[in-house]
Amino acid sequence: MRKRDDIERLFREKFEGYRITPSEGLWSRVVRRLRRQEFLHFSPGRFNVWYLAGLLTVGVVVAYLALQDHSAVTGSVTPETSVGVVQNRDHLQGTSEEKAVKGMTEEEQREEHENAGSEGHPAAAMPAQNQADQEKQLPVGRPATPPPAPGNGTPAKATGSQPVQQEKDHTTPSTVPAEKEKPAPVARFELSVRKGCPPLTVDLINLSEYATDYSWDIEPAGVRFTEISPQYTFHDPGLYVVHLTARDQEGHISVSSDTVEVYGKPRARFDYSPKDAVVPADEICFYDNSVDAERYLWSFGDGHTSTESDPVHKYTTDGPFDVVLTVWSAHGCVDSMVLRNVFEHSGYYLRFPNAFVPNPGGPTGGYYSEGSLANDVFHPVWKGVGDYHLQIFNRRGELVFESRELNRGWDGYILGQLATPGVYIWKARGTFLNGKPFVRFGNVTLIRKR
């Protein structure tokens, strides 16, 4: 599918070689960070924290040795005034030195001493090796240690925290660092659908992290799943809450919830009238009895449709027909009702005219030829009629004509005399050939030809 690619292509093309000019100070920020980084990383030929540590160690050792020599000769005669200051500094250096030394590998230590040696303390460095090791065991804050090499005071303060931090910052660029400590579980999920019509099948898509066991609870349905990503079908309308509890092996839990709304479904119901209509001929009224319906689609079964709620339809062909009413609720939920074989008997019909003009030339006996357009005999048009009984009454209710033959109608004469023009009542009873009985009545106007 070509369309699928459009967004990806759009973004890929637009951002191909995309440039943004960095702000002015960014390079100096990089340099500052670099300096710190380089200072914390060992590299021969560049002053860094390891050299500083080495210098400090050497300084302390030299001073210690010097002091020992000194005290051996003169005893511990140190000026009282300088002790306080020296003590403080020594404390500071002692701790920072220890931290720095801990982080070093043996090799680096060796190198440090070699370097120290080459920096002009050959006599002190070499024999001091053992002493220096001893010295590390000694408690810090010993009195009467001379101040370290000049110029090291300020950076030493900074080193207190940096070597630790440096480990964090050190990340290899070609791999993504993995989380060392085991994180707590995070319950998270997604619903394939959050609202819809019943039956609503919802995929509960688990997006939790760092968890091993899951428990899904759907309220108020009272359903529980323990699969990772289950599927559930909501049948009843309502508002549901889905809870996901994610657990890890240690039993830490995390809970996440979301809601699902299942809309109510409409109910399609209809009726029609008249039931005994003659099809094709009569107009049929269809009545909507649906519940919660907002939109309608009627399909009358003859290829015609309507979107009215209560349409009137006139068939042009014989039945039977399957009539379908489809309704939609405001939320777009759908339901439909089908009536099959409506007007199954529409092939049988019986229709009477409401006026006729008798032949003034005398009684004809009422026999007529089918298909004749002469309207001088009152008779029905019919199809499929079996038993048949037609009666005609005058306004006083007197029977003036009667026939049990379909092909014999009323010619408008009573006992040989032309009947009075006016309205007469007719009644027809019988059964269609399919056995369905009928009773019809109506009136007909007798018009005298002038």
Partner: protein, 190 residues
């Protein structure tokens, strides 16, 4: 004019001049990549800065087999992911709200979006979705690779990507709907 190789050699020797030249040669293009991963320009520059420090510190690890730019690009992306992981805890529960899928899966209106508009769209994505969208749609990684990089499940990558994609589509539709005629834009600028 130095070649990349000259600059790499200089950078391995930790020469500040070579580092600066490398920075000046590639910073704008790399920032263009970082920008897509960041919520704003300041964050993008943070990524760029950290990335360049890594590049200079580890330049000796760069094997001349691949292109230098691609290697640097990878470093930037990894830096962006590292940053994302650092902020993960605080922002993870951010969600794309009220995201209704548009009815049709077709491209909204015109494709004449500006880079700025597209950048704004990307930046409006919640962080996790933004990273996945960048990695999959633009960088062209596979979901399996993304899952590995981010330490998530493959299906999570897929489902988050499709949500991001839906979100972006909707945003693009919104943009094309409210697109201002050019004259009006010019008037405003004047």
């Amino acid at each position: 004019m130095y070649t990349d190789e000259d600059l790499i050699k200089g950078c391995i020797r930790k020469e500040r001049g070579a580092q600066k030249a490398l920075y000046e040669r590639y910073a704008d293009r790399l920032l263009g990549i970082c920008a897509r991963y960041a919520a704003d320009t300041a964050e993008a520059e943070d990524i760029l800065q950290e990335g360049f420090v890594k590049i200079f510190v580890h330049i000796s690890d760069f094997s001349a087999k691949g292109s230098l730019f691609n290697w640097m690009r990878k470093v930037m992306i990894n830096t962006a992911i590292t940053m994302y992981h650092k902020t993960l805890r605080h922002r993870y529960h951010q969600e794309i709200e009220a995201l209704q899928a548009p009815a049709r899966d077709e491209m909204p209106g015109s494709s004449d979006f500006t880079q700025e508009e597209l950048l704004a769209v990307i930046r409006s994505l919640p962080e996790g979705y933004r990273v996945i969208f960048n990695l999959y749609a633009i960088e062209g990684f596979k979901h399996r690779e993304i899952a590995e990089m981010l330490g998530i499940d493959v299906n999570t990558s897929k489902s988050q990507y499709s949500r991001a994609r839906r979100f972006i589509r909707k945003k693009l539709e919104d943009i094309s709907r409210i697109a201002v005629p050019d004259e009006k834009k010019r008037d405003e600028e004047a």
